[in-house]
Structures are given as structure tokens and as C-alpha cells.
Symmetry: D3
Subunit: 295 residues, 6 copies
């Protein structure tokens, strides 16, 4: 029995200020589903994370971190035939970011439907997937859809974060089709403002639609009613990870059947902790750190 | 006119003590031909380095470093279709090192015969290649052989460093064939002790054979005469780069027509500077730092 | 002869972003009376700091720092029977801070009335104590009161900073009684906004009451007249130490008989320097750095 | 079912070069039983670690690390009434080390016999305790002895590491008595050269006595036969943790019924990995890093 | 043929938070003409930088950096008789900065008219000088004026940045005379708000006058018409270098004959990149990072 | 009353591995007389240090450090007309070090006979000077000789460390004359092996001649008898400061009238602590850290 079952790829992340000059850089691991899993686990929910990692040190780090957080890692596959993926990023002002992905053919992208443990999925309350997984490879695409189908057939809630990453798709059209196909199965759908138009075809069909608006907070439409929450006041250290953290907070609210506004508030609170930290996931709060204590 | 023309792949290098725990790691660039090029340039020789880099920040770093050292970078190709390669290494005791290469399909591996500027090669005094290049891809294999052929046809000296990296070859047999084929063309051939047996078939045909023996120094057989030099006494900080630095010192001695023993000594001196530094190339000496000043 | 005599506990301070993850943390020493002492000394006032330290390296660090700043350390006791205290803090967003005190039974908490050098106190112009000292232990409570009594009997001005730290008291009631008892003896009393209601019983009796309001600045009531000053515009690096720094600036104004508004302004200026620095005390300004130069 | 059950105290560890000057220091966690547990788990053995931690961030770190390594942490008690202990150390040349313990009354020292899960102990193959636990408090003393009694009564092997820490005992006599009492119950007893004379009264009765000799390696007397192994050649970065790592390697050899000499060799190998690392436990090898690969 | 020829002094720069406490400080090189040169080169313009450096490691660093950026360094003189200059700075709040210059008699200050390569100057499109050069020494004063004369005689555009540094002049009167003399020759003149009154006598005669206003942006008067641009929204990491970066962006706009408002905008964009970086020059953007991408 | 009076120049010291590449460097202060003063003070001797510092942050650091160590700093002059000197060093293998001095015209070099407080000198037991002071300037030369004359006239012991720094002298001949002139006044004379021949003319006249031999230890000739001591076994981190530390240990032995061999041993012990530390002075031991504890 697990509250939330999630699957995806976790990769090593190198972060520099200026790749062409820096000699000291930061090494971490990340992935939006990993962030969501850690966020939920720190609040006391039981979580399973599924993915493939390489038989290398980065793979060991991913498993060690997840297990350390009390997340069920027993379904993770260690793939002897591929390396754990890696992303190299540079923080620049405005929109001039720079990420190079070293994840083509990565262990994580080799996830397939056969890796999905049907029982484990079926015994969860929520299945959470993101739009990154179908972009990784054909088998990963199938794995995501297979999991969603399993979930729907068993009647558990399906949560989807659109997470559109242009670099991972051949073209926008391919992404639009795949992401709408995925979104169609969602009970709860998360999108940021840019992603909204991408999933326009599907939006109308979603029971619980959550839109994040960066420093302007987040809003939702639940059964046709609109709810809003402000972002928490915080000095941004590194905004990466905000989306996955928000989802963790929101789903925690779903699991505890909080009022829709309080689901948004918890999402914003978790995002704020991540934004104030260099890491995607290390800054996530424990339950005792949650508001009202926090702000 | 250039003293030495060299070609190969340069990659980003991440170095950690323990990948599964470290949050602060070192980012540098490297490649044995890059080390050799920098070593020669710092001693005042004119050098051309050829290779392909990605249209990304790591690629910019490679070009910037080489150009900064006064090396001719005008023939470098920036490949918009592939990323600059990356290696992630971990320093452990004894033989338990750990390197993961993210260079499959890298820009550097897409080097091909068409990239070789015939005039530039022909106007050099020495062409230097390593056994890594033929392992990168079929086109890289052709590029190396094309360059050697150009050199031989024009009568310039060919220098080959065996540089056997098991991970880059399908099996040992494939490597043995390819490396001997490359070695056959050499006027000066460099091998460490493990590589000696690999190139046994070719050894007899080489005019100037140089064998490095780690902390025990190096020796050569030149026209049938044997010469020896001791390694310089130095506390090893990071031994990576020693081979490429040694080659730089040795070829500098060849260019200046030093006595064979002094060629070895200069090779050992440059290797020592690199071993005493965290970087493969930053520790390389200027001419005023050379012995007799040094030891 | 000394301008200001102050007493209290100084401890080692470990600061991390996230104790459960960080491998590199900051080690400093601190204590509000230490901050106040350094602040005054850097402006050219003569200061004596009294306290007990352990016969360990942290104790040596405290004495070395204070002596280095030109503060009279001749009355400090080195206690062979107890360690110097330590606090481990974590900076989190909002109110979710986290401090663990390792100071139960610390050398500093063993301060007693017998440690107070009557002559040294009596020859000062101002005695400054904080509400932390009576919370440390029974003997420390007595020491603080003994010093205040000595001061009042000799006619020197008594300055008290309320400095209510809930963790150091059994319950709020105990604190209210003890802090009001201490406050009663004050000529100048410092409180932040939260502490105001705590000392309500005493407020009416204080000649010079100073209230700090964080980023909103500070105000005072001196002989029934109200004065105000704005906080200096500054990007907060670590707000810890602001209170002690403010007191240093204000008391410097008292010693120089500045206009009440200028006392507040100097307090705000010193606080700003501390807030802009990672350390509680290292950022404190010299006299040449004071406004009008500063802002 | 677990291969090894161990219990003890884990604490936060601050390491500086010079406490009186350093601003940047290292924060880690440690304890010889934690090192032993991690060492065994990385080699694939199943391990349970028992101890009490505070309801603070250091406590969370200890649980997270152990759980991350795959160690059974389900019996750990989080004590809301006490802080996790802390040690502050300084590395100096020769014997002039300096450690200040902040662990009087720590959560870890409040371990008691009631915390020992009888079933879990009884289902293990080996119980491992150190001479530190009985020094922590009366209840900890009882807990260690209770565990040993449980183990002996159930017929599992008892492993004891003498681990004499003078600072934790009132006087040497007290330690001699307590440590011999503990040692008496041992099937395997570990001592370094200084500790040998301390346990002289008991030595004769021990089936498998292992003596470590720092850089000179280790030897054992098993059923009256003497065995020896050399230390691995390694540049020491921080020797702390060598003892606990050695025990892990040795007990791994016991579990796999290796020849006595190979037990010593594996102990020396694990110690070498720890000595080459700044951390007590992070440098410990995986099974694939073990000799013959290593040296 | 070069687009812009610039000359000046580059020095080593040590940056600390608090010189009296910090053990770890930053070492970089800088000088406003170096920043301008790098800024222009990164946008694809051809640039020549002229100056003298010492025959020391800092001098080598200056040449290596400039050459690495693709700037023509062939006219740089390495002066065996003097050291490369050095500046030690401390970042403090408000106006309380602190810089100590170690550049009296530096290699850079020994620049003289004889160092100016007439042909190279004459073949450029723009000559750029700052008001720092005439302040360095009598020969440097002559060098700047000689270059301006050469430029005017050959009809190339002259760009002057006032750059008034009080510490480098005997008194304000001396500076006023020298700076107006230099400004008189300018086609494009850059001044910040404080410098405006200094060059009042000359202002009327300037065709293209550009005034920077810190976070309020910049404005220009071109042939009597006034233009304005806002500063880019950016969190300042270290504002040093903003002026030189602005000039690079503006001159890039001049070279590309952009509309006056777009010249200002490009100036503001480059300044923003530098302000967001710890370095004066490392943060400067490539052409692909320029707006509209950026903001 | 002071045990040892010493005078000289203290400067800021920047230490890098490779000045042309490093962005993070170390800032410390140093000078052999400062090291000697700190070494003596930490062993409990009373010490006075005299010198001039600039009215800048480096000057403040020097005074703060010395005063913090309990050294009498009341005679230090703060010179408003000159900056505190600075040295920039790079650690390279073998003899290929690199130091650039920024101390021409420094505050420290402006020391003159008028700065020498006659009473303070005369009330000491030992005056200690080094051969660096006469090399700094004519006035510094006079100051050193004036101090020696005062000491001799008052019958206190004069200690001289030859400390020949070629860069600070016009030529060797000038140094030979000046250093022998200084050495003539010595009761105790310190020289390393290279300096021995420089002071040959004077050697015969010295009562207590001490020769240091790097890792081979030190020896002395006292009243014609020869004594020897081995260097302490230590892994060198940064050998700088060894000489000044040795002198501190030796003079401590003189003050305590230890046997000549024990004077050497204490010198070697203090040198070892400094060699094991990155700093010239921070690693110096307290009395409790002295042998027999240490080795
Ligand atoms: N600058 C910010 N300050 C405070 N909260 C923020 C900020 N940026 C993002 N957030 C929080 O993170 C959530 C997700 O951020 P957003 O940028 O919308 O998503 P994504 O990262 O997935 O594109 C927001 O709803 C908000 O709560
Ligand atoms: N520990 C060491 N100490 C000093 N010099 C060394 C050391 N290791 C290598 N070298 C130098 O580097 C050269 C090349 O090293 P080697 O290990 O033989 O080559 P490779 O790195 O190519 O395998 C040696 O000939 C020697 O001069
Ligand atoms: N964010 C801030 N910006 C500027 N000044 C501040 C800020 N926070 C505190 N200060 C200054 O520090 C003083 C004391 O701060 P406050 O938070 O009131 O006290 P305490 O730290 O003792 O609770 C204030 O009066 C103000 O001058
Ligand atoms: N300098 C060293 N080099 C290599 N191995 C060492 C070194 N010091 C200790 N070891 C290894 O660690 C083991 C335990 O070290 P020892 O110092 O005897 O124990 P303890 O740390 O418990 O006192 C030794 O048996 C040896 O294998
Ligand atoms: N705080 C800031 N935020 C954004 N841009 C800034 C800021 N400060 C300076 N700039 C930019 O840098 C340019 C030059 O800054 P300014 O301070 O006027 O020049 P200088 O550094 O030469 O005195 C400004 O025109 C503006 O574009
Ligand atoms: N490598 C070393 N190991 C141990 N001690 C050393 C070492 N180098 C120097 N010392 C100690 O420092 C003392 C002074 O060193 P030396 O090099 O002779 O002087 P200087 O630094 O003044 O030239 C020596 O006598 C010895 O005690």
C-alpha cells in the first residue's frame, strides 16, 4: 500500500554559473518526479518511485537518496547496459539559460511497460506521471501510458504534470499530440502558463485543472469552480524544481482532502522551499516546517 | 607553418572524490592531444589542434582555452548537430577508479577525413595522433589515418601515442588491429608498460620507441640504442594527464634535437608538473620553469 | 576606565543551509554581548567583556577575537571544568529556522556573581546586560543582577536588551518575571516588537525605551518624547546579530551624547552592516565607514 | 532476518583544521557502529542499526543516511527529549588532536535495555557492540549487556570492538572493569595495540582475537593459531573511521566463512578506503571495488 | 583590420567581503578597456587591446584571457622591468567600499606613445580610450593622446569613457583639465551622472554624448536629439564592470549602425550580464544570448 | 617588561596554486618576525612586535591578529601615507616557485629609527631581528641597527635570523655586507644551509650559531660544542613559515634555559606545526600541544 506511485527518469545535474569559466560546480540529482516523491515523503505520505538507473555511481546516488527519504525503491531497475543520464546547466539572467542533456540512450530512457509492477500501481491511491516520460523514448512512452491505463482500470486517481520540454521532442506538433493523449487520462492536471495552450484540446475534460503562474502563484478549476493562491514571498536562489515541489504539496492536499484553496497553498509553500534552495529537492520541508509555522 | 599538428577529441571532465556523495565537484576540459598541445605551446613551439566541438558552452571553453594558450584553432569545426562530449570521473584508491563517458555521438567523435586541412598538416614538422581517435567512430578512424597518410607523403615526422582505452573499443582484438595499423605509420611511438604487448607486432619497425613506466620514469630505444630517465620526485595530486604531458616534453626535445636522454628528461619534467596539479593541463610549465630551475 | 562593561555568554556557532544535507558549513563565534562589544570597540570606545569560556579551542577563539578587537579580556575566566557552548543553526525561509543549543552546563553558563570584578564595573560609564544571561543558570542569573546592583549603586547607566529566547526558559511565565525584574534596573531598555508586551509591567518606569522593528527601523521614547529612524536599505545576507549591533550603535550615540534620533540612526547603521554579512560581528563598521559615508 | 545487528550512538561531527581560525568546516555524522553498518551493507550484507536520535536535523540525517544505505532503521528511536550528540574535532599533527564532545545527556546516550528489540537481535547471525556504548550512561551500559545476553542465549555470534575512549570514562579503572566485562561475552574481539593490555584479563578466553596495528596492518589469533595481514598502501586523508571499517570487512569475511587471513585482508581493505576519504563512512567500497580490483 | 582598437591597463583584482577576516578570496583580472574588448569580441566584432603587462603570472593571465576571447594581442608589450598591477577590493554596503591599488610603477602604467602601433590604430573603425589611462603616468597620458591624434588624423571615430577615479589623480583640478582635454577629441563620449559636471566645459562640443544612470538606465544626446533606455531588471551580484560592459554594447550598436535607442539598449543589456556575475567580464553574453532572447 | 622584542614588516599574502588560472585563492598575513612573535606568545612568553602598517584593511588585520594573540601592539605605527605591503605567491613543484612582491614603498618599509621605543627594547630579555628588515629601505636598515645597538648597550641578548631574500637586494655583494654587519651583533644567529656561506666572515665570532637543514633537522654550535636534532616527521602542506616558527621554538628554549639539544628540538617541533598548516602562523601550537604530547 502506497499513497502515491510515480515513475520517470532521474538524472545527474551539474550546475554552473558560467560553464566556459567555472572550475567549481555543483553536482546533484534531479527529475520532477523525484522532487514530487521527496516532497510527499517528507510530509509523511508513503511513496513509490519507479525508474531505471545505470549500474554506475550516479545510479547508486539516485537509489540512495530516494531510499534515504523513505521512498519505496524496490521496483527500481538497475540497467547494466546504459549509463545514468546527466544534464549540464548554466544559470544566466533572464531567458538565456543553457542546458545540455546527456541522456540520449540513458538507462532512464530505457524504461518500458514491462518495468511497471501492476500490483504496486494498483494498490496506490494516486498515480503521478509527467510529460517528460513519453518524450524520452518509445518504450518510456508506452510505460507511461501503460501505468495510466492500469491506474484508470483500478480506479485510482491519475495526476499528470504537462512539463513540456521542447528539447526532448522532435517538434511541437509531436509534443502536442503526445501530451494531450497523456493529459486525457488525468483526474488532476498540472500546467504552467506557457503549457496551457498546448493542452487546450483536453482542458475542458479535466475535473481538477491546476495552473501555476510563477511568482504570481497558482490557481485551479475544480468541477468548474475557480480557486487561487498567492506565491509565498521568498528570495529565489534557484527556481528549478518549483514545479515538482508544487505538485507534491498539492497532491498532499488531495490525499488529506484539503479545501481546493489549501491544496494550492500547500503547493505554493513547497515550491517556495525549493526555490530558496540550490537543490531541486534538498530544501523541501518536513511537516513541522509547514505553514502556519513558515510564513 | 606550425611545429606540431595534432588532432583528437577534447571533452568536459567532471572530477569528484565520491560521485554518490559529493555536492562540489571540479569542471575542467581535457584530452591527451589537448594536453600535448598546451605543453608544447607553453615551451614556445607553434602548435595546431584540430577537432570538432559542439555549439555549446563546453565547446566554447575548449576553443577559448586553446586559443588563449596561443594554439592555432582556426581549423576547429563547431558542429551544430552534436554536443561536446563529457566524462565523469571519481578518484578512488588503487585501481578502483570510475569513469562514465558521455561521448557516444559527441561532436568530437564526428571528426572525419574531410575536416583535415591538407595544407596545414603538410606545413608542420610533426603530426601527432593518439589511439583514442580511431576508437571514437568510423569517421574519426578515417580522419586519423588520412592525416597520417598526408604526413607520411609529405615527409613530416609522425608521432603516435598508443593510449589504449578498453571502454572505447568493442573488444581487445578490434583494438589490437586498429592500434597496430596506426602504430605502423609512426616515426616516434609512445606506449606505457601495459600497452607494450598490444603493439608487439609493430614494435620492431619503429625507429624511436618510447616507453613510460609511471613513477619509475621512462626509457626509449632509438635506432636500436636504449636510453633511460628517472621520473621527477613529486607528490601526486592527480596523475591524469601525465601521458599527454610526457609526449609534449618529449616532442619538444625532438623539435630541438636534444639528446635522446634529454628528450626523456623533458618528458618526465612535464609529466611531473601535470601530476602535481588537479588539472590535466593547467599545471604545465613555461620555459622558464623547466629544469635546471625545477628540481 | 572603560566606556562600556558587558557580560554574557559567547558560543561557537555552526551555520548550515540544510543540516541534513550540507557537508560544508560555517564556523563562527557569537553572542549578542560579543556583537555589542565589537561594535563599540570598532567605533573607538573602550569596552570590557566578561564571561567564562572552556579550556578548549572555541574558548581560545572567543578570547582571541575579543582581544584582537582591542576589548579588555583580562577578566574572562577560563573554566577547566566545562566546554565552551555551541549552537547549530540552519537558515530556512520564513519562520522555519532551526537552532540546536549545545550549551547546557557550558562554561559560559557557569558565570557567577563571584566572577564580577566590582572595580572594573564601577569604573565604567555604562553596564550592558541582556536577558539571555539570567536564562542560562541560577548563578548566571545572580551574576547579572549583581552587576546591575553594582552599577546602580555606583551611579553608572544600566543598559538592558530584553533578548527573549523561549528555548532557554522553562515557560513564558518564568521568563516574564525574570526579564521584568532585570528590566526594572535599566536606564536604557531595548526590546523588539514581540518582546514589548513581555515587559509591559516595567515599560512605564524606563527613562529611555528603544524598540526595534526589523526592516521597519526603530523608535524610542526618551523622557516621554517619541523619536524614529528608518532601517538602512540593505540586502539581507544573514539577519542574525542585528539586535546586538543595533545596541552597539545606539550606546555609541549615548556615549557621545548624540540627539535621540541620531542614536537610533547609528543603531540602524550598525545593524545594517551586520545584516549584510554572514557573520554576527565581522561586518561591523569602523568609524570611517559610518554615515554620512555609508548611505 | 538480518546478518548483523549492531547498536550504538551516532553523532554529528564537525571537523576543522584549526578550530580557533577556520571559518569553513566539514559537517558529517559518525560513530564506529555506523561505519561498520555501512561497510557491511555496501558489501551486500543485511544489517540493522539501533540507537536513539534527537527529533532534530542531525537525527534526521543519521536516519536518512542509514536508510539510504539499505540498513534496517525501523528500530531507531527518535527521542523528543534530547538532542542528537555532536563532536567537534581538529586535526593536528602527531598526537595533538583535539575533540570536544557535546554528547552529555544526548539522545544517543539515553539508549536503554527497553529499546532492544529481542526478536530482531535473535534473528541475526552476528551481534556487534563497541566499548563506547557502556561508557555513555548507565542505561546504555545496560542496553549493551542486555543485547549481548540476548545474543548469547540465542546462540548467535557476539562481536566486540574494545574502542577505549579515555574521555568518556571517569577513570581507567572504571573502564578496565567495564570493558573486560563486555569483552568476556565476545566470540570475536577487536582491539588495537594500546587496548590490548586493557583487556589482558579476558584475552585468554577469546576464540577469535583480532589486533589492529595501524599502518602495520592487523593480526589475529583464532583457536590458538596466529594469522597476519599487511595494511593496504594508501595516502591517509583522515584516519578516523579506520577501526569501524576494519570491523566491517572482517565480519564480512566471517559471514562468508573466509580463511582467517582473508578476513584480515578484507578488514585492511575497507580500512584503507576509509582512510583515503575525509569521511568515516562515505569512502567505503562497494563489492565491485573490493580486491583483487583494488590494489 | 580591426573594428575597435582600445588601450589601457589591466590588473589583477582580489575581491573579498572583509579583508580583515576573509581567508578565501577571489582572484580575477580586470580593467574597463579589457571588459569593453571582451564584450565586443563576444558579439563577433574584431578587437585589438593594447597595454603593457609584467613578465609574471598575472601578465600571462591577462594575455591568455584576451587571446582566448579572440582579441588581437599581438601588440601587447611584456615589460621585464615592472610587475603587473594589482587591486585589492572589499565589497561593503552603501558607499563604504575599499580599494587599495598596488599599481604605482606597474608595467601597465609604463605604457608610452612609442608602444602605439600607428598602422593598427589607423586600420580600425573606432578607437576607444578611458580617462584612467592619462591618470596612470606621464607616458600613459602621452600614449592616450597620441592614439587619439592618430585616430582623428586618419578619420576614425574616437570613443572616450570619462571614468574618473579620484584616487589616481593628485587633485580634482588636475583631473578636470586632463579629462576635458581628452574628451575634446571624442566623437562618442561616455559619462556617468557624477562625471557629467566634470566635463561640462566639453559637453557642448560632443556629437554623441551618452550618460549612464546606474539602475535608472542610460540616455544619450545625438546631434541634439535625446534618447533613453531603461536598465535591465537584474539582481546585482557585483556591479563592478557595468561601465565597461555598457560601452561594449553601445559601440557594438554604433558598428552595426543601430538606432540610437537600440545602442543604449544593447549597452544596458551587456551591463546587466556583468552586474549579475562576480566577474567584470566573464558574464558577458555571446550574440545568441542577446535580447530578444534575454529578457 | 617583555620577554622578546621583535621588529619587521608584515604583509598580506595571496597564495594560489596557479596564478594564471585560479579564481579562488587564499588571503593571509605573514612575515617571519610575525610568525616568531605568535609562536612565542602561544607558548606563554610575553612579546612585543614593532612595525608600520598602512591605514587600510590589511593593516587592521595585522594589528588585530597580533593583538588577538596577546602580543604587545602598542608601539605599532599606522602610516596614513602608504599601503600595507602585499606578496602574491604561487606554489609549484621543485624550485619553480613564483612570488611577486607589492611592497616597494610599503608602510612597512618606512620603518625608521625614530619608531624604536628605547624603553620597551631595553626592558626586554631578547631582541630579535631578521635580515629582511635592512633590505627594505635605508630607514629600515637604520631602524634594525639602532635596535641592535640599544639592545647591546643594555645588555640584552640579540637574536638574528639571516633570512636572505635575493629579490630584496640590489646584488649579492650588497647583501653580504649588510647581513654580516647585522650578524656581527648577534648572540644567537640563525641561518639555513644556503645562507651559511654568506655569513662566513662573521660565523667565527658567534656564541650560539644555529643552522637549519630543512627536512634534515637542525644543529647548533654553542660555545664551540655541536648539538643536533632531527626534524619532526610531518607531511608538508605548505613549508612557508618554517624558519620563523623554528626561531620561536628555539628562543623559547633559550628563555627557559633548556639544554641546547632541547632548544633545537623545540624549534623543530614548532616548525613542524607550521609546515603542516596552510598558514605561516595559524598552525603554531599552544604549550599543551608541545612534545612529549605531540610525537
Ligand atoms: N519567484 C517565485 N517566488 C515564489 N514562488 C514561486 C516563484 N516562482 C515560482 N514559484 C512557485 O512555484 C510554482 C510553480 O512555478 P512555475 O514557474 O509556475 O512552474 P514551472 O517551474 O513548472 O514552470 C508557482 O505556482 C509558485 O507557487
Ligand atoms: N607517481 C609519479 N611520479 C612521478 N612521475 C610520474 C608518476 N607517474 C607518472 N609519472 C610520469 O609520467 C610519465 C607517464 O606516466 P605513465 O603512467 O607511464 O603513462 P600513462 O599515464 O600514459 O599511462 C612517466 O614516464 C613519468 O615520467
Ligand atoms: N531587513 C532589514 N533591513 C534593514 N535593517 C534591518 C532589517 N532587519 C533588521 N534591521 C535592523 O536591525 C534592527 C534590529 O532588528 P530587529 O529584527 O528589530 O531586532 P532583533 O534582531 O533583536 O529581533 C532594526 O531596528 C533595524 O535597524
Ligand atoms: N596509515 C595507514 N595506512 C594503511 N592502513 C591503515 C593505516 N592506519 C590504519 N590502517 C588500517 O586500519 C586498521 C585499523 O587501524 P588502527 O589504527 O589499528 O585502529 P583504530 O583506528 O581502531 O585505533 C589497521 O589494521 C589497518 O588495516
Ligand atoms: N542596479 C542595476 N541594475 C541594472 N542595471 C544597472 C544597474 N547598475 C548599473 N546598471 C547598468 O550599467 C550601466 C552603467 O552603470 P553606471 O553605474 O551608470 O556606470 P559606472 O559603473 O560607469 O559608474 C547603466 O546604464 C545600467 O544600464
Ligand atoms: N620537510 C620538512 N619536514 C619536517 N621539518 C621540516 C621540513 N622542512 C623544514 N623543516 C623544519 O623547519 C626548520 C627550518 O627549515 P629550513 O628549510 O631549514 O629553514 P628556512 O625555511 O628558513 O629556509 C628545519 O630545521 C626543520 O626543523
Amino acid at each position: 500500500m502506497t499513497d502515491v506511485f510515480t515513475l520517470g527518469e532521474a538524472v545527474g545535474i551539474i550546475t554552473a554559473e558560467r560553464i566556459r569559466h567555472d572550475m567549481d560546480v555543483r553536482l546533484d540529482i534531479g527529475g520532477p518526479e523525484l522532487t514530487t516523491a521527496v516532497g510527499l515523503a517528507r510530509l509523511g505520505h508513503s511513496v513509490t518511485w519507479l525508474g531505471r538507473v545505470g549500474a554506475d555511481e550516479l545510479g547508486a546516488r539516485i537509489v540512495t537518496v530516494l531510499r534515504g527519504e523513505g521512498i519505496d525503491t524496490t521496483h527500481i531497475q538497475t540497467d547494466p547496459g546504459a549509463s545514468t543520464g546527466l544534464a549540464m546547466r548554466q544559470r544566466r539572467i533572464g531567458r538565456a539559460g543553457h542546458v545540455v542533456h546527456y541522456r540520449g540512450g540513458s538507462a532512464g530512457s530505457r524504461l518500458g511497460p514491462g518495468d511497471i509492477p501492476a500490483r504496486a500501481v494498483q494498490s496506490a491511491k494516486i498515480l503521478h506521471v509527467t510529460g517528460i516520460t513519453p518524450a524520452l523514448s518509445g518504450t518510456a512512452w508506452s510505460a507511461a501510458h501503460h501505468a495510466v491505463k492500469l491506474a484508470r482500470d483500478s480506479g485510482l486517481a491519475v495526476s499528470v504534470d504537462v512539463n513540456y520540454r521542447p528539447q526532448l521532442w522532435i517538434d511541437r506538433q509531436e509534443a502536442v499530440e503526445a501530451l494531450n493523449e497523456l493529459a486525457t487520462g488525468a483526474d488532476v492536471l498540472f500546467a504552467n502558463q506557457e503549457e496551457l495552450q498546448l493542452i487546450e484540446p483536453t482542458i475542458g475534460t479535466i475535473r481538477e485543472l491546476v495552473v501555476t503562474r510563477g511568482s504570481k502563484g497558482a490557481s485551479s478549476t475544480v468541477n468548474g469552480m475557480r480557486y487561487d493562491a498567492q506565491a509565498a514571498p521568498v528570495t529565489a536562489v534557484d527556481p528549478a524544481g518549483a514545479g515538482g515541489a508544487f505538485v507534491a504539496g498539492y497532491l498532499s492536499g488531495v490525499l488529506e482532502e484539503l479545501h481546493p484553496t489549501d491544496r494550492l497553498r500547500r503547493g505554493c509553500a513547497l515550491a517556495a522551499f525549493t526555490i530558496a534552495s540550490q537543490s531541486n529537492w534538498q530544501g523541501l520541508p518536513t511537516r513541522t516546517e509547514l505553514p502556519p509555522l513558515t510564513f
